[in-house]
């Protein structure tokens, strides 16, 4: 054993703690120069497992401080959320001081002031805590090779949060370049909560060096107690909906009986509504209730976080913005409103309570409609069986690569051959082809095919062996748009007299007229005017207001969770009712049985209903929203082969609906083998080309790769003339440059993420084993009703525009 370990153990003793075996194991591994992945839950001391190792590495075997420590930045600590950085910074600073280092440990995030950034640029701290976006910004500086020269280690915290997203790719790319910038061999570590594919998580982190990496698992068991909040009468409880407000009377006692409660909702608008209703029902909560979501201004969020720490607050209504690891000790109870959509997310939220090692986590599940009760039972079983979702790493994200290359070109420039070998060392781009690489180089230098000799395109130019951005405007614009989280255009909300409140999506404001009142940040605000990308408002006394609808929050049910839901339904058909939730929901299930059936594991239920709106076909695969969307297009396409027809499509996590204007003979349609696995991909691609999925994916890709420029709220007026809609771009590329890699990426993303190809194939295989039960109903069943009222619809059509126009017979939207 490394002698320095003793120093670490001593320090733990002084704090009155005892080092866990996994911490010691991590120290050992780190000190022997290894990289790797540490799997440990939040609140288990994972930070110290790595940070103490970093400190110990600056001691000699004789337990003396290294005599000639290098100057400059030594450690990078990467976090998915800036909110986490403050906590970790203070914990790290305290221990570094204890160990006798006079090190600067600083944070660098989107919130860091320009002054501090300048200072950090001139004299780098010893350890920098940052986000993937801010790290890329550092790489866009002119002195980056000097800056990162003495780097010793990079620790990626909460790696599971980054892994399945393009931000993970940002990390991969930065790591690949930093490995070469650092003079000595970098140690690279990640800390991850339990997910279904930990080994892969390590391989993605380390890229081509994956084999040398260690894998350390903490043996700390986290106990989670799950209880559902049950409606009194399941039949009177809504069959559809997403708010769950009706159960508010059962929530209040929970809040009052416990110290501090976090109420997680799935969307920001839900958060606003719950906050408002809780205050209405229980005015005594005033001053002890707060909300937290991504659109609120920073200082409100920071205030809430601090209040949570000090325990002066009793309840916080929040979105996923509070999902991640900050340690709020007083929190002892969690309430999840509506489906958490995945087992990991539910477990993670539960873990926000009882945050210290050895403590139990407590979570309540509040169903927003009756059927959702099944999920309570499903979640309990899933968590007891520890069946967590995998985070599938993103492959060949060319948009992120393009952005990264411009980032480097804005900085010191890059040598194409060298960069290619770095890129090939990442997991994401390990299979990049020569052809793709050439296309990318061509794209950033000449903007794709160049027609004329006197074309004005020159984003990146060659200077000796380096490719660089020389145009200052382009460089500035690029720095403003680094990042991969693309939302709708955001507008600032401010009082007329000044005072920033938060941000709201443009498409919400565009539906308002001056004088309209809306709820935001717990206040009733009157919309006065839109000026310079700022929404000016004043406080209003009007009672009822709209609640802004933010995009997002349309996550699909994970395949693991869907599996357990199907199993619970199967239990019903066999008469096995073990859980209290299932007992409760029995009347509704019996009603479904009376109208139609409850499908067993080996059955696929299809219901048809005629209504004023047209002919509805409901299919219930219980596979989650995304898969249903694809299945809907597939079935729509296959029906349409024999007759030109238009459908509108709706779905929820349990089933899907096809709505059309003419009655379809379903028996005949089913004889077409609608779910056949033959020609699956071709048929789907034909189906989705029509449904514009790729266009939607392209929206993000275009923004990330710099094709469309959104700027930042308030800062983008000057560049208004550069704004173009991504759908026009999409059309232009499809017509003039079909070989465009970004366009291909949009289609590929649809196949991989939206269609979830692997999951879809499994679902299709399963459906083909199932017996189809077709029910013609006079009115929608409890299963189909929630889908029918879902207004988020897709279109599918194989009719030509002319045919559709003729058919619609010009019924105008007035």
């Amino acid at each position: 054993m490394d002698k320095r370990i003793g120093l670490g153990k001593d320090w733990f003793k002084k704090q009155g703690w005892k080092a866990f075996p996994f911490q010691v194991e991590t120290w050992n591994s780190y000190l022997s120069g290894k990289s790797g992945l540490l799997n440990a839950p939040t609140g288990s001391g994972k930070t110290y497992a790595l940070w103490i190792a970093c400190l110990l590495s600056h001691y000699t075997q004789q337990k003396k401080l290294l005599s000639q420590p290098k100057k400059g930045l030594k450690f990078l600590w990467i976090l998915p959320l800036r909110a986490l950085s403050k906590d970790i910074q203070s914990a790290m600073q305290v221990s570094a001081d204890d160990f006798g280092f006079s090190w600067q440990i600083e944070t660098r995030t989107g919130d860091t002031s320009t002054k501090d950034r300048q200072r950090q640029k001139k004299s780098p701290p010893d350890c920098l805590i940052t986000t993937p976006e801010s790290l890329h910004l550092l790489l866009s500086q002119k002195n980056s090779s000097q800056y990162f020269k003495n780097l010793e280690a990079i620790i990626v915290d909460e790696w599971h949060e980054l892994l399945g997203s393009k931000r993970g790719v940002q990390v991969e790319l930065a790591l690949a370049v930093l490995k070469d910038l650092a003079v000595s061999k970098l140690r690279i570590w990640a800390i991850s909560a339990t997910i279904g594919n930990l080994e892969e998580a390590r391989d993605v982190l380390l890229g081509k060096d994956a084999k040398e990496g260690d894998f350390i698992r903490s043996d700390i068991e986290k106990l989670i107690q799950i209880e559902s909040i049950l409606p009194d009468e399941v039949e009177n409880y809504p069959w559809a909906g997403h708010l769950g407000i009706k159960l508010i009377d059962k929530v209040l006692p929970i809040i009052h009986q416990n110290k501090t409660t976090l109420i997680f909702t799935n969307t920001r608008s839900q958060t606003e509504i719950w906050y408002q209703k809780l205050l209405e029902k229980s005015p005594d909560l005033a001053g002890a209730i707060a909300m937290h979501h991504g659109s609120l201004s920073n200082h409100i969020r920071i205030w809430v976080e601090e209040a949570l720490h000090s325990g002066i607050i009793k309840v916080v209504v929040c979105t996923s913005s509070l999902d991640l690891g900050v340690d709020f000790r007083p929190v002892d109870t969690i309430i999840q409103v509506g489906s958490p959509k995945g087992i990991s997310r539910f477990a993670q939220r539960a873990g926000r309570s009882g945050h210290r090692p050895g403590e139990k986590s407590r979570i309540y599940f509040l169903p927003t409609h009756s059927l959702e009760l099944i999920e309570g039972a499903a979640l309990r079983q899933a968590i007891s069986e520890k069946n967590f979702e995998a985070r599938i790493p993103v492959q060949k994200a060319f948009d992120v690569l393009l952005q990264f290359m411009i980032t480097l070109a804005v900085g010191e420039g890059f040598n194409p051959e060298k960069l290619l070998s770095q890129i090939k060392s990442t997991y994401c781009f390990r299979d990049i082809t020569e052809e793709e690489w050439q296309w990318i180089l061509n794209f950033i230098q000449f903007g794709g095919k160049s027609l004329s000799a006197y074309d004005e395109y020159h984003k990146v130019v060659q200077e000796e062996s380096l490719l660089k951005v020389v145009n200052k405007k382009i460089a500035m614009r690029h720095r403003l748009s680094i990042g991969t989280i693309v939302g709708d255009q955001l507008l600032n909300i401010k009082y007329i007299k000044g005072g920033y409140i938060g941000t709201v999506e443009e498409n919400f404001i565009s539906r308002l007229k001056p004088g309209d009142v809306f709820w935001f940040s717990g206040r009733n605000l009157e919309y006065v005017r839109l000026k310079d990308m700022t929404v000016q408002v004043k406080l209003s006394k009007k009672k009822t207001g709209l609640v802004p609808k933010w995009m997002g929050g349309r996550m699909p049910l994970s395949s693991q969770l869907s599996f357990y839901i199907r199993q619970k339904l199967d239990d019903f058909t066999k008469g096995i009712i073990r859980d209290i939730e299932l007992e409760k929901i029995s009347p509704l299930i019996n009603r479904q049985k009376k109208f139609s059936i409850i499908p067993a594991q080996n059955e696929l239920l299809i219901e048809t209903v005629s209504s004023k709106e047209g002919f509805h076909i409901f299919i219930f695969p219980f596979e989650g929203r995304f898969i249903h969307e694809v299945l809907a297009s597939l079935v729509a396409y296959r029906i349409s082969i024999s007759q030109p027809i238009s459908f509108s499509i709706a779905m929820n996590d349990y089933g899907l609906e096809l709505l059309t204007d003419e009655v379809i003979d379903m028996e005949e349609a089913l004889s077409l083998d609608l779910f056949s696995a033959v020609n699956l991909e071709e048929d789907i691609l034909r189906g989705i080309n029509e449904t514009e999925m790729a266009k939607r994916k392209f929206r993000d890709i275009a923004a990330i790769s710099g094709l469309i420029f959104k700027g930042f709220p308030g800062k983008n007026v000057k560049d208004k003339h550069l704004q173009a809609s991504s759908s026009i771009m999409f059309g232009v590329f499809t017509e003039y440059e079909p070989e465009n890699l970004l366009l291909k990426q949009a289609h590929e993303e649809v196949i991989q993420h939206q269609l979830e190809k692997e999951r879809l194939e499994k679902a299709i295989a399963r459906i083909n084993q199932q017996k189809i039960i077709l029910k013609k109903l006079a009115q929608p069943s409890p299963f189909s009703f929630p889908i029918m009222v879902d207004r988020l619809r897709e279109k599918f059509s194989t009719e030509t525009l002319e045919e559709r126009v003729a058919k619609i017979q010009l019924q105008l939207e007035s």
Partner: protein, 220 residues
């Protein structure tokens, strides 16, 4: 589709241009040339082919309708001077026998000196031509009435309509919007969006599909 305006037949084409056969004149609104180069200059990689493609569309119109004169109802060139303008000048020289007249719009920001070509004229709005009052911005009713028995042809709006069918099907398309004494043309350029019009009982809407123009009526 042919419609009669002031007892004259005009052709509303699926090419999003109006053709006055008797006078052999084409009316084109909101071409928005120059946007491609504008974007490329800023380092945004819009395909370069788009430039020649947009001019190619005008060439096709010329070989289809053989006009003697073409009126651009504003927003012809959406940028400061760039390569595309030079290409457009080449294009004008190629069709020296046709007279081109631009009614200036809000995006036509090039100084007048750039417009000095033998077969190309530039006019401020409104411009009266026979019984047609041509403008970029749709003129207010009083202004049209003041000019006597005329009709206003205008662009700027990029009109579109949204139609709805059973089973919640709906679709958007560009349209010609015919009002009292006013015809608003759809935007010709492809780098443009649509402004969906609220349906008014007094007006007529001619939707443009891929190959046809259809009169859109409200179902009772």
């Amino acid at each position: 589709m042919q419609i009669n305006i002031l007892n004259e037949p005009f052709l509303l084409t699926a090419d999003k241009v109006v053709f006055w056969e008797k006078e052999s004149i084409l009316f084109i609104a909101d071409v928005h040339l120059g946007k491609t180069s504008h974007f490329r200059k800023a380092g945004i990689a819009v395909p370069n082919e788009l430039i020649s493609a947009e001019m190619g569309r005008i060439k096709e119109l010329i070989s289809k309708y053989h006009p003697k004169r073409i009126f651009f109802l504003g927003d012809l060139f959406h940028s400061h001077i760039n390569v595309e303008w030079e290409m457009f000048k080449d294009f004008l020289r190629e069709f020296a026998s046709i007279e081109f007249i631009l009614i200036k719009g809000n995006h036509d920001i090039l100084p007048d000196t750039n417009y000095q070509l033998p077969n190309f004229k530039c006019k401020e709005e409104p411009f009266l031509f026979k019984s047609l009052l041509l403008s970029h911005h749709p003129l207010p009713q009083e202004a049209i009435v003041n000019c006597g028995n005329v009709i206003n042809f205008a662009g700027h709006v990029h009109p579109g309509i949204s139609i709805k069918g059973k089973g919640r099907t709906s679709l958007n398309m560009a349209c010609y919007h015919l009002k009292q004494k006013q015809l608003i043309l759809p935007a010709f350029g492809r780098f443009t969006g649509l402004t969906i019009q609220k349906f008014s009982q007094n007006d007529h809407y001619y939707g443009v599909t891929n190959s046809k123009v259809v009169l859109v009526k409200q179902k009772n």
